[in-house]
C-alpha cells in the first residue's frame, strides 16, 4: 500500500538525479566513506584527509588509541556485567563504537567542550572522566557525578537530541568570548555535539543545524550512525546517507568509517579545526554498528538478523589497530600484555568501586532544585525529616 519510488529525483525538472549527486547508500558505507585503516589493518590514503598527529610521534599516538579502546571496551564489559549482577539499573553499551568515540575524543583540545548522549563512555574516558562517575548515573545514585566545567564534558543527556541545541548555544558563547578564529591554537575553541542516527529525526537536532548555520557557530555535529535506534533500522530515519543532511542546511558533511580510529580522528580533527578557525559547523557521520543491545534491557534478537552482526565483527575497531601494530612491529607482546593488565586492574576497580558507591541520602532530594532552598521546600524537607525520624527504631 505504501509506495516507494526506486529513484529519488527523476532527472526531470526536479534537478539532477539525487542518487547521482550523492552516490548510493551502500551496506559498507558507500564509496564516500573516509577510511585510513582497513579492517585488515592496512593504512590507506584518502585525498581529503590525512592522519596528522601534530607534534606527537605517530606510533605512540596509535598505541595510545589502542589502549584507550581496550580500556573503554573493558569499562563497557564490566558495566554490562555489573548490570547483570544487579549493581546497575541499566547500562547503554558502546560495544563496536570504540573507534568512533576514541577518534573523536582524542581529536579534542583541552579548551574544546563536549556534549554527549548517554553512550559516550569512550569520549568520557578521553576527557578524563572517572568511569566510576559514569556508573553512578546507571546505578541510580546520581544523574551524572562529574563537573562539566572541570572536564569540559557535559552531563549525559537522555532526551534525544536536546544537547545539540545546548552545544550550539555554548558555541555561540565561545564566539562572544572571542575564542574563535583568533589564530592562537591554545585559545581557539570549538564544541562537539554527539548524537545518534535516530536523533537525526528530532526537531531539536534540525533546529540546531539551523542555528549553527545561521550564526556560523563553531560546533561539530558528530553523529554515530550505529545503524539502529533501539529496534528501528537506520532506513526508517533517512533514505539517503545522513551526512548529506548537512548540505541542505548549508554546511559540509562527511561520512567516515567509524570503526577506523585513524580516519575518525583525522576527520574530527579537521572539522574541529574548521570550527575553531571560525569557518562554522560541520557534520561528521561516523558510520559504525551497535554490536550489542541498545541497553541491557533490550533484546535485539527480536528485530535483527545475526548475519549483519557477523559481517560487522570482521570490522572490529580494536582488532584492526592490533593487526596494524603487530604487522608493522610497532608494539610487542609486552605492550599488549601491559594494556591487558591495566584493563584487568580497571575492571577490579570498577567492580569494587561500583558496589561501594554510596546511596544518596533521602533528604538530598531537596538539594539543588534551586540555587538556594526555597521556604516551601524547606517546609517539605523538614516535614520529611521529621517523618523519617518517626520511624527510627520502628523499622
Amino acid at each position: 500500500m505504501t509506495q516507494r519510488s526506486s529513484e529519488v529525483g527523476a532527472g526531470d525538472g526536479f534537478g539532477p538525479d539525487l542518487a547521482e549527486v550523492f552516490g548510493p547508500s551502500q551496506q559498507d558505507g558507500g564509496p564516500e566513506l573516509v577510511q585510513l585503516l582497513t579492517p585488515e589493518g592496512e593504512r590507506v590514503d584518502h585525498p581529503g584527509f590525512r592522519f596528522d598527529t601534530e607534534e606527537r610521534a605517530e606510533d605512540e599516538v596509535i598505541r595510545g588509541f589502542y589502549r584507550d579502546m581496550v580500556l573503554t571496551r573493558r569499562i563497557d564489559v564490566e558495566a554490562t556485567a555489573l548490570q547483570r549482577h544487579g549493581e546497575l539499573g541499566i547500562w547503554a553499551q558502546l560495544l563496536g563504537q570504540e573507534a568512533a568515540q576514541v577518534g573523536a575524543g582524542r581529536a579534542l583540545r583541552p579548551q574544546d567542550f563536549v556534549f554527549p548522549t548517554y553512550r559516550e563512555h569512550g569520549v568520557a574516558w578521553c576527557r578524563g572522566v572517572d568511569p566510576l562517575d559514569l556508573l553512578g548515573l546507571f546505578r541510580g545514585v546520581d544523574q551524572g557525578g562529574w563537573d562539566p566545567d572541570d572536564k569540559n564534558f557535559g552531563l549525559y543527556t537522555i532526551v534525544i537530541g536536546a544537547q545539540t541545541l545546548h552545544a550550539t548555544g555554548y558555541a555561540m558563547g565561545m564566539q562572544r568570548d572571542g575564542v574563535v578564529g583568533t589564530g592562537d591554537p591554545d585559545r581557539d575553541a570549538a564544541v562537539i555535539a554527539h548524537f545518534g542516527d535516530g536523533a537525526s529525526s528530532q526537531g531539536d537536532v534540525n533546529e540546531a543545524f539551523v542555528f549553527a548555520a545561521s550564526y556560523n557557530a563553531p560546533v561539530v555535529f558528530f553523529c554515530q550512525n550505529n545503524q539502529w535506534a533501539i529496534s528501528e533500522p537506520f532506513e526508517r530515519q533517512s533514505r539517503i546517507p545522513l551526512y548529506q543532511r548537512a548540505l541542505g542546511f548549508g554546511f559540509p558533511g562527511v561520512r567516515v568509517d567509524g570503526n577506523d580510529v585513524l580516519a575518525t580522528y583525522a576527520v574530527t580533527q579537521a572539522a574541529l579545526q574548521r570550527a575553531r578557525e571560525g569557518q562554522g559547523p560541520t557534520f561528521v557521520e561516523a558510520y559504525t554498528y551497535r554490536m550489542g543491545a541498545h541497553t541491557t534491557t533490550d533484546d535485539p534478537t527480536r528485530y535483527r538478523l545475526s548475519d549483519d552482526l557477523e559481517r560487522w565483527k570482521l570490522k572490529d575497531p580494536i582488532a584492526r589497530v592490533e593487526a596494524y601494530l603487530r604487522r608493522n612491529g610497532l608494539a610487542d607482546d609486552d605492550f599488549f600484555g601491559a594494556v591487558q593488565a591495566e584493563a584487568d586492574d580497571l575492571g577490579v576497580r570498577l567492580r569494587e568501586g561500583c558496589r561501594a558507591l554510596p546511596d544518596p541520602s533521602p533528604l538530598s532530594i531537596f538539594d539543588h532544585v534551586y540555587a538556594e532552598l526555597t521556604e516551601e521546600l524547606e517546609v517539605q524537607r523538614d516535614g520529611f525529616a521529621a517523618y523519617l525520624e518517626s520511624f527510627e527504631g520502628v523499622r
Binding site: G140, S201, R236
Partner: protein, 328 residues
C-alpha cells in the same frame, strides 16, 4: 459463555488494542519501536505481525512528528493510537497536543473530529534513569479539549483502552508502568464494562475517603488494609478519569466520611490533588471535618532511582495523612 483468563496489565492492554483493531479497520497504531519489537514494554507485541506495517507503524524518532502526523491521519478518517515510549518523552509533542489535538474540534466548530488516543506509560518505581518516571497528568488535565484517563488494573486496562479508542474525543491514556507486569487479574471479556469517564469506589469505608488513580490505587488499597488492622475504615476511590472528573461518587463519599486524602505520584503543587481539594471544599464545605490532605511526590525533580521510594508516596505516608486528617 464467560471466558475468564488471568492476565497482567501489559497483556490486557495488548488484548484490548488487538480487539479495537479487529473491530475497526480505521484504528492504526504509531510510535517508536512498536512494530517488530512490540514496544519497549511489549504492549503492542505481535500486532504488527498480524495487522501489517500500515496499521502498526514504526515511526522515525520524533514525538512531535508522531502526534502531528497522527493529527493528519485523524483528519483523513483514521483513529490513531499513539504510543509515547516513556512519560518524560511526551514533551517534544506537547505543542501538537495542547495547540492542535486539543483544539481542532473547537476551532472547526465540530466539523473536524479528533479521535486520537495518546498512550503514555507513566509513573515511577521501576529503577529507571531520569525522564523515565514522570507523572505529567495535571498538565494535560489543565488543557480543555483533552480527556485524560488512567487505568490501575488489568481489567480496566482491557476495557478502558477500547473505550478510549472508540471515543470521538482525544484521550490521554495513562498506564501505570510499574503495574504492567506486577499483578494478574481475572479478565472476563464478555462482561459489560462501566462507562469510561466514571470513578469507582473500589473499597467501601466510613472514616476517611482516599482518592487515587493509576499506580497509587494499589498503595491506597494496601493502606486501607493496614488501617483496617488498626480499626480504621478507609473508603478508596479509583478516580479512573482525570478530565473530566467524575465528582459524584467523591462527593457522596465525602459527605459520609468528612475526611479526604488524595494520593498521586505527581508533584503535590498544582497536581490533581489541588483541583480535587478545591472542588471538594466548595461542594462539601459543611461536611468536611478536616481539610483535604494531599500525598504526592515532593516538589522537586524526580531523584536518582536509589531514593525514588523515598520520593514517591507510599502506604506509610498515606497512613500518616490519614492520621493527620483524623487529628483535625
Amino acid at each position: 459463555m464467560a471466558q475468564t483468563q488471568k492476565v497482567t496489565l501489559a497483556k490486557a492492554l495488548n488484548m484490548g488494542l488487538r480487539k479495537a483493531m479487529e473491530d475497526d479497520p480505521k484504528v492504526v497504531l504509531m510510535g517508536e519501536d512498536i512494530g517488530k519489537l512490540g514496544g519497549v514494554f511489549r504492549i503492542t507485541d505481535g500486532l504488527q505481525k498480524d495487522f501489517g506495517e500500515d496499521r502498526v507503524i514504526d515511526s522515525p524518532l520524533a514525538e512531535s512528528g508522531i502526534v502531528g502526523t497522527a493529527v493528519g491521519l485523524a483528519m483523513r478518517g483514521y483513529r490513531p493510537v499513539v504510543e509515547i515510549q516513556f512519560d518524560g518523552f511526551v514533551y517534544p509533542a506537547y505543542d501538537q497536543i495542547v495547540c492542535q489535538v486539543a483544539k481542532i474540534q473547537f476551532r472547526s466548530q465540530g466539523k473536524l473530529k479528533m479521535p486520537m488516543v495518546i498512550r503514555i506509560p507513566f509513573g515511577g518505581g521501576i529503577g529507571a534513569v531520569e525522564h523515565h518516571s514522570e507523572s505529567p497528568e495535571a498538565q494535560f488535565a489543565h488543557t480543555p479539549g483533552l480527556k485524560v484517563v488512567a487505568c490501575s488494573n488489568p481489567v480496566d486496562g482491557y476495557w478502558m483502552i477500547q473505550q478510549a479508542i472508540a471515543s470521538d474525543d482525544p484521550v490521554i491514556f495513562l498506564e501505570p508502568k510499574r503495574q504492567y507486569h506486577a499483578d494478574k487479574a481475572d479478565l472476563d471479556d464478555t462482561a459489560t464494562p462501566e462507562p469510561l469517564f466514571t470513578s469507582r469506589v473500589v473499597r467501601a469505608g466510613s472514616d476517611v475517603t482516599v482518592l487515587a488513580y493509576g499506580p497509587t490505587v494499589k498503595t491506597a488499597l494496601k493502606a486501607a488494609e493496614a488501617a483496617a488492622g488498626e480499626g480504621r475504615s478507609l473508603e478508596v476511590i479509583d478516580l479512573r478519569t482525570l478530565s473530566p472528573l467524575d465528582m459524584a461518587p467523591v462527593y457522596e463519599s465525602v459527605r459520609r466520611t468528612g475526611r479526604v486524602v488524595v494520593t498521586h505520584e505527581a508533584h503535590v503543587n498544582l497536581g490533581m490533588g489541588a483541583e480535587l481539594a478545591a472542588r471538594i471544599a466548595e461542594e462539601c464545605f459543611y461536611s468536611l471535618e478536616a481539610p483535604v490532605l494531599r500525598v504526592g511526590a515532593f516538589d522537586t525533580p524526580y531523584p536518582p532511582s536509589r531514593i525514588e521510594e523515598d520520593y514517591l508516596p507510599d502506604l506509610d505516608r498515606v497512613l500518616d495523612a490519614v492520621d493527620r486528617s483524623m487529628g483535625f
